[in-house]
């Protein structure tokens, strides 16, 4: 495991920080798209060490945070059905719906909810509880979807009948285009998400360079990775350049991961999708194809999405667009805390409000 330690090595961070200071010749704003970047930047203390002139704003890359209120309500409606067992990644557990209640509340009222590490684990649950319909909550971006597609394929191949997926899967390029078309958002560069890029390839950001003249650098998640990406961004901005660079070559190539994309394509097709804060974005989501409709929870359980109110006073939507900071939300740290979250940006471990609360207070 020496390999991992090399990248965790904080001794690397100091010289990289110096180089970053040297590279910043003009001030610039960078959007870090991915929630894991947000968390890593806070946890490592990088945010406080950044040289003057470098401003980081968080983007729409926390999958739980961008799940719309109407999807959360639909999930809670699924939880009310009898003979349903919900399987999910942990972060969704405490997100309140428009009633103020969450799956955590439903589970204390007797709903069967299992937190799993991998979507494949939910197939195991389906085998172990043949009398229940196991519904996996598919929330995530390009990195998460291939594994869920593979799980659906495995369910079909092994004839597991009592398994379905509620798909709120989203793809990253469409919301970035939507955000960048907004003249109010002033940014010079993007810190592109590491693992999403390992699926879609670094080349996927070229259209952003061509259309918006934006500096795009793919970065990993360790402090040294992030610093390296910021150095490249600073140099590009300083020279007035805009191109795609890859500072995360141990996980990302220029080309897409075609095995993963093919798997996704077999099971899912592009669909319009509602995002919290960003609204409906055409073809930014993934729906389960007709052929695999048997594994589509929306069809199997006849779930209808209905418009839902955002939690009163919550500014998550503006924060996800990079327009406001958590401190601008009147509820931040007062009525809304990680112990008693009002919006998803405080619930998710990758949410911007949670990060500010934990590390910036």
């Amino acid at each position: 495991m020496k390999y991992v330690d090399e990248f965790r090595d904080y001794a690397l961070a100091e010289p990289l920080l110096k180089e970053l200071r040297r590279s910043v010749t003009t001030s610039f704003r960078v959007m870090e798209v991915c929630g894991t970047h947000t968390m890593s930047i806070f946890r490592s203390g990088l945010r406080t060490l950044l040289p003057e002139g470098v401003e980081l704003i968080s983007g729409p890359g926390c999958p739980v945070c961008v799940t719309s209120a109407s999807h959360i309500d639909a999930i809670l409606a699924i939880a009310e059905r009898t003979n349903v067992r919900i399987a999910l990644f942990g972060d969704l557990f405490r997100v309140p719906g428009s009633s103020g209640l969450s799956l955590a509340n439903a589970s204390s009222q007797g709903t069967k909810v299992d937190i799993v590490y991998s979507p494949m684990d939910s197939l195991e649950l389906a085998r172990n509880y043949p009398e229940d319909m196991v519904v996996f909550l598919g929330v995530g971006f390009e990195t998460t979807t291939p594994g869920i597609a593979a799980t659906i394929m495995a369910a079909k191949n092994s004839n597991v009948d009592n398994f379905s997926v509620f798909s709120t899967h989203k793809t990253m390029p469409p919301p970035l285009l939507a955000l960048l078309d907004d003249p109010e958002l002033q940014i010079d560069g993007l810190l592109c998400p590491g693992h999403v890029s390992s699926i879609i390839g670094a080349g996927a950001y070229q259209p952003l360079v061509d259309r918006y003249g934006l500096a795009c650098v793919v970065g990993g998640f360790e402090p040294a990775d992030i610093l390296q990406a910021l150095i490249l961004l600073a140099r590009q901005v300083g020279r007035g350049e805009a191109k795609v660079e890859n500072a995360y070559t141990r996980a990302v190539r220029w080309e897409e991961n075609s095995r993963a994309q093919q798997m996704v394509h077999n099971i899912f097709e592009p669909a319009d999708m509602e995002w919290r804060g960003l609204g409906m974005i055409p073809q930014s989501g993934l729906a389960i194809r007709e052929e695999y409709g048997h594994f589509d929870a929306e069809k199997r359980l006849n779930i209808k999405l209905t418009p839902a109110e955002e939690p009163k006073g919550c500014r998550c939507g503006e924060i996800l667009k990079g327009k406001e900071l958590p401190s601008q939300c009147p509820l931040f740290g007062k009525r809304c805390t990680p112990g008693n979250p009002i919006g998803p940006c405080m619930v998710s471990s990758e949410g911007t409000c949670a990060a500010f609360y934990k590390y910036d207070q």
């Binding site: 590490y117 991998s118 394929m153």
Partner: protein, 91 residues
């Protein structure tokens, strides 16, 4: 949710084109053996390669050479910086 911890491949089950039987690798994670799925990995690995894993699925394969190159590049970057510093201080 993204943990960029590359894990070393110890064993491989299944084959790249056969989705009916399991496609699984046994990997080493801090001395503990763990299974990961290979259904969506970009390149089918060999024993001794490293895998980047997301939610139980390998998404990227690195050979040991690539792994080393990455470490070297990082060191070179740091050394270059330190080299620069030395010249600056001397001048």
């Amino acid at each position: 949710m993204c943990l960029a911890v590359p894990m070393k491949v110890l064993e491989i089950e299944g084959s790249p084109d056969d989705f009916l039987s399991g496609q699984i690798a046994v990997v080493d994670a801090d001395g503990i053996r763990k299974e990961t799925r290979l259904d969506v990995v970009d390149r089918w690995p060999e024993i001794g390669d490293y895998l980047i894993i997301h939610a139980g699925f390998a998404i990227h394969t690195l050979d040991p050479e690539e792994a080393k190159t990455n470490i070297r590049l990082m060191h070179e970057m740091v050394e270059k910086v330190e080299g620069l510093e030395a010249t600056e201080n001397n001048s």
